[in-house]
Structure formats: structure tokens, C-alpha cells
């Protein structure tokens, strides 16, 4: 595996799969709409080769006013459709504003889809602020800091999450900031889980 990882930027060339294509196409709309975002959770692991399926890609975007969201919604609707609602006000007021994710898929389809939400907890804001740039072939996408991703997966604690953490740690243990990872482990109270499954 050839990966360049330097100063919060990862460069990698690889064959693009259906999930990567969806991620790249969707962020081109966010870029056009000047909306900050970060990919989190399972897709980050799959991006780097984790061998498991996922029907959705989790995405956190900066909190938007309704006017800003209307512009974004218009741009998204050129190629995508919202699975939860066809009504923009409902989408904003009953979903995003209540911290419920909106799901977007290509028109006529529903899997795979993008699960889009506003930042909810402090760690979501940290993730957005400290996101990592990934240059994937000639495309740019932003992902969660890997130290947080690994620790948070351990914190969630299902078998699938621990497996995700194990995969990311194994691939990146020589490249990430281990002190930061250990700090997250302490603060999330998962030092024992880390020692048990990832060491």
C-alpha cells in the first residue's frame, strides 16, 4: 500500500469503487456550494481498504442557516434526491435542526446513500476543525482525524466498530500521532479496550 501522509494530508492512488464515486460526486456539490464537511465513521475505514459493506456514508457539514441550506438543497437536487423528505422546510426543521441525519441518494436510487448531519457534540466540531485532506487520485475529500476515528470506534464498542478501529490502526499506526490517540483513549475511558484489542 502506497500512502503519503504528511501534515494532515494523505495522498493515495487507487481503483475507485461505488462508495468512493458517490463520496467524490457529492462533495463536488458541497465544494461548489462552499460548505465545509468531513466524512466520518465506516466510510473512512472502507476508503483505506476495510473489507466490509456499508449502505451509507456518514457526513458532517457545518451548521447552515435555512437560506444557506436552501442554496445547497438546490445544488444537491440537480443529481440527487432526499430519501427522508421532498420538502425543504421539513428537511431543515424536522431533521437537520433536530440532529437527525438527512439521507441523499442518486436520483431514482436509495443505496448507497449519504447520511448528512450538522455537528452535534463537541467531537463533531473538533472533527470538522481538524479534518484531514485526502487526495484520492485527482480528487480531494476531507475525512475525520484518524486518531479520533480509531478511539471513537473503540468507544462505540460494537464488534464491527472494534474491527474498524483495528483496521485503521494497523494501516496507520506508524503514521498517526500516537500521543493524540492515547489522549483520546484516556478521555474516552477506553484504554483497556485499546490494550485488549488493538495492541
Amino acid at each position: 500500500m502506497e500512502i503519503k501522509f504528511l501534515n494532515k494530508e494523505i495522498s493515495m492512488k487507487k481503483e475507485i469503487n461505488i462508495l468512493d464515486r458517490l463520496a467524490i460526486d457529492f462533495v463536488s456539490i458541497l465544494d461548489k456550494s462552499k460548505v465545509e464537511y468531513v466524512f466520518v465513521s465506516g466510510y473512512v475505514c472502507i476508503l483505506f481498504g476495510r473489507s466490509r459493506a456499508s449502505e451509507d456514508i456518514d457526513l458532517i457539514i457545518e451548521r447552515l442557516s435555512f437560506t444557506q441550506f436552501r442554496k445547497l438543497w438546490g445544488n444537491i437536487y440537480n443529481d440527487f434526491i432526499c430519501i427522508n423528505s421532498s420538502d425543504i422546510k421539513e428537511a431543515y426543521n424536522e431533521y437537520l435542526s433536530k440532529n437527525i441525519a438527512l439521507r441523499f441518494a442518486r436520483k431514482g436510487g436509495f443505496v448507497p446513500n449519504i447520511k448528512l448531519k450538522f455537528p452535534k457534540i463537541d467531537l463533531d466540531h473538533f472533527t470538522l476543525k481538524e479534518k484531514i485532506k485526502v487526495v484520492l487520485n485527482d480528487n480531494v475529500i476531507f475525512i475525520s482525524p484518524l486518531e479520533l476515528q480509531i478511539a471513537f470506534k473503540l468507544y462505540l464498542g460494537s464488534e464491527k466498530d472494534i474491527e474498524d478501529a483495528k483496521h485503521l490502526y494497523k494501516i496507520f499506526k506508524d503514521k498517526i500521532n500516537l500521543e493524540l490517540l492515547y489522549d483520546f483513549n484516556r478521555k474516552l475511558k477506553i484504554v483497556e479496550v485499546f490494550d485488549k484489542y488493538l495492541r
Binding site: 502506497e2 487507487k14 423528505s85 464488534e159 472494534i162 483495528k166
Partner: protein, 96 residues
């Protein structure tokens, strides 16, 4: 019928061993990725990932042909925007 006695301690140990086996597999698989060129691992990985969606598509096609198939799909995939999926009621027009 009565459920048999269950040795939970033994069962939990079995579950934990099973999980550790899975983790060993993750370990070996990650080693394989690390050793291979991006071209090689990503080619196999893409085939694996794309196959999942191919299977999902086949499943949805089958389900759409069943009685109340469209409703089952809407429920299974939690599709609330039913107006957005007119083709679901016409399976030959639907794309996943």
C-alpha cells in the same frame, strides 16, 4: 417445549474467542493490504465492494416483484419521500 440449560460463562468465552479470531483475520488482511500495491489491493477491494451493491440491487429487484414489494422496499429502506420514487411502482424503470 422448554429451553435447555445454558452455560452462559462457556457461551461468552466462545463468543469472545470467535471475535478474537475475527480480529486476527482483520490483522492478516491489513498485512496483505500493506504488502500489496495500491493497484492490486484496490482492484480486489473494489470488486468486493461493488459486488455488495450488485447483490443489493438483485435483492431489491426480487422484492419489487413480490406482492406489496414497493411498500416492503419503502419500509426496509425507510423511504419517507415516496413522491420521489415513482419508478418504484414500475420495477422495470427502477435503478438502485
Amino acid at each position: 417445549m422448554k429451553a435447555p440449560d445454558i452455560d452462559l460463562e462457556k457461551l461468552n468465552k466462545f463468543k469472545e474467542e470467535n471475535f478474537k479470531e475475527r480480529l486476527k483475520f482483520i490483522d492478516r488482511y491489513a498485512d496483505w493490504i500493506i504488502d500489496k500495491s495500491n493497484e492490486e489491493w484496490s482492484s480486489e477491494h473494489t470488486e468486493f465492494i461493488n459486488a455488495q451493491f450488485q447483490k443489493a440491487e438483485e435483492f431489491i429487484k426480487r422484492l419489487s416483484k413480490e406482492k406489496n414489494g414497493a411498500e416492503k422496499i419503502m419500509k426496509a429502506y425507510n423511504i419517507k419521500n415516496q413522491k420521489g420514487y415513482p419508478a418504484l411502482l414500475k420495477p422495470n424503470m427502477r435503478k438502485v
